[in-house]
């Protein structure tokens, strides 16, 4: 299926909702993912992450709201969306009697990829995910990690423009996790694939993603860059400059144009200088200023809340806010009349 090249790789949703009788799986979700983003989608279990991904891939119809993937409406154009996206679900099943190569060729055929191209692509992908030497072994003999790699290869068989990954490294050993992360970064950098990554591994999201959305109970808690979220959570994002203590150190520090806090450590030998929020200069400029002031830098590190801290702070804050503002509306379904039409 040919897709117009004018379509970009973005994802946008507007008040997207999915209700199952009296359960709001996704509730008025509005997010934007720009082309080329590696977008982290975070939330506790049951937050609606998988449901959102399934709606965006055209596997589920929304109850209300709308969304576009690569410029295509998820309801009207689900067939077009399916031909240009790839989804690696949390747990995939496989046709265990097939070999990895047969499996990939089967999916290549379903995507109507020319046999010759399909064979070459399957071979390249098996090489890429490290299964080339086991390509003729029945899948039933594969370990979980190998199956996950094969799942990733299947997800890439149609050369997707947008990749949805639902817990891609769940249950994998550190090497397996690292390999998948490396493959994702390569795809994003070399092929400009937009990646929508749902994960509980916050360190993974933190190291891979340039933008993040946090959802809880089907609702958006926050979205933005990790720095934006850190700021939203009220976390500091300055620098800690550890300097050697000297009789004149305090005086020299007071000449710096920053709001600083100091703390002496290591038997008064060192001083930790926290250069607080609002510092717009680069770390190099800050180091320059310290050196010009005659301070001897021992070490320097970025100070700030981890993504984990941000995540817990924001989800807890949102939970409290919801309980205060809508104590009666917790997970209560709207009546059919109240629900917005799908394409408002």
């Amino acid at each position: 299926m040919k897709v117009s090249s004018t379509n970009n790789n973005s994802i946008s949703t507007s008040t997207l909702s999915k209700f199952y009788r009296n359960f709001r799986a996704v509730n008025s979700l509005t997010i934007d993912v720009s082309p080329g983003d590696i977008f982290g989608f975070l939330g506790p279990n049951g937050a609606g992450k998988t449901t959102t991904i399934r709606m965006l891939c055209g596997l589920l119809s929304p109850t209300s709201g709308y969304a576009k993937v690569a410029g295509f409406d998820i309801v009207k154009d689900s067939l077009k969306i399916r031909s240009i996206v790839g989804l690696l679900p949390e747990s995939s099943g496989f046709y265990n009697w097939m070999s990895a190569e047969e499996y990939l060729l089967y999916f290549a055929a379903l995507y109507k990829i020319d046999t010759h191209i399909g064979k070459k692509r399957a071979k390249d992908l098996l090489e890429k995910v490290g299964l080339a030497t086991k390509s003729f072994v029945p899948i039933s003999y594969y370990s979980r990690g190998m199956k996950q790699r094969l799942g990733l290869a299947r997800t890439l068989i149609n050369d997707p423009k947008i990749l949805f990954l639902d817990e891609p490294t769940l249950g994998l050993d550190p090497k397996g996790q690292q390999d998948i992360q490396k493959t994702l970064l390569e795809l994003n950098r070399e092929k400009k694939v937009t990646i929508f990554l749902s994960s509980h591994a916050l360190s993974e999201v933190s190291s891979l993603c340039n933008r993040v959305a946090i959802v809880n109970r089907g609702r958006l808690v926050a979205q933005g860059s990790i720095e934006d979220l850190r700021a939203l959570a009220g976390g500091s994002s300055g620098l800690v400059v550890r300097i050697l203590n000297s009789p004149s150190a305090q005086q020299e520090l007071s000449s710096l144009p920053y709001r600083i806090q100091t703390n002496t450590t290591d038997n008064n030998r060192l001083i930790d200088v926290k250069v607080s929020d609002g510092v717009s200069e680069s770390a190099n400029d800050i180091i320059d200023r310290f050196e010009k002031a005659g301070l001897q830098i021992y070490e320097i590190r970025r100070m700030g809340m981890s993504l984990e801290d941000v995540y817990f702070k924001l989800t807890e804050a949102k939970k409290k806010e919801d309980q205060q503002t809508h104590p009666e509306a917790q997970q209560k379904p709207k009546s059919k009349e109240e629900q917005r039409p799908r394409h408002a």
Binding site: A25, C57, L59, G93, Y95, W97, Y106
Partner: protein, 253 residues
Amino acid sequence: MLEIYQREFSGSFYSWRGGVWIVAAALIFSMVAYLLLTDKELSLLDQGEMLFTLAEVIIALGVVMSATSASSSISGEIESGTFESLLLTPVTHRQIAMQKLLSVLTVWAILYLVSIPYLVVVASGTHLALSAVLYVGLYGTLLVTGLSLISIAISARLKSSKSSIMTTLMIVLILLAPSLFFATSLKKTDFGLALESINPVSQSFNSLDSVLVDNEQALSLQVDHIWPVVVFVLACLLVFVFFTRQFEVKSAE
């Protein structure tokens, strides 16, 4: 175009189980044919009646095999986690369901081909062989198609192999019971007659009885029996179309 059909078919027959089904069916046909031709009491039956009994066995086995196979065709994929990846491909949901139907019908086609020599042997010495082969083919195909259509619809709707196999077998049992298990006296009551008139399996068996035992082989003489079976297939088609227009895999699954 027919990738899912090919994969279904190779999946069914790749393992030894696929082949065993056909061997088991052949053994059943052999046993029935052997008993009909050699057993002291059964061999006293008129040859048309022997042929009719074998035809009943072939159709009943075909219906049970294809309905069981169809009833797990979608739910089985949902349970094994392969359905989501299938739905992600640019193949329409209707195409997926149709190819699965085709795969089930192929199983019936193989079973039918295996049964032909048995029909010919039991009919040897009479002029009934061709009629037996054609009418078993006609009614078998119609019944298998109808029940496969409804079984796939049930499989898509219930999303659980256990529930869909049980439901399908219940339907098959309800359809087969009047012909196979009801006493003749019960069949002749008003209730029995009403039930027979709307039961496609009873209509098929009555028609086969008329062709093979009563020697009414012309198609025109069987129209009254054929149309209820065709109506049944059309009703099953409607159910199939309705339940396979859109598959959804919920998060909880």
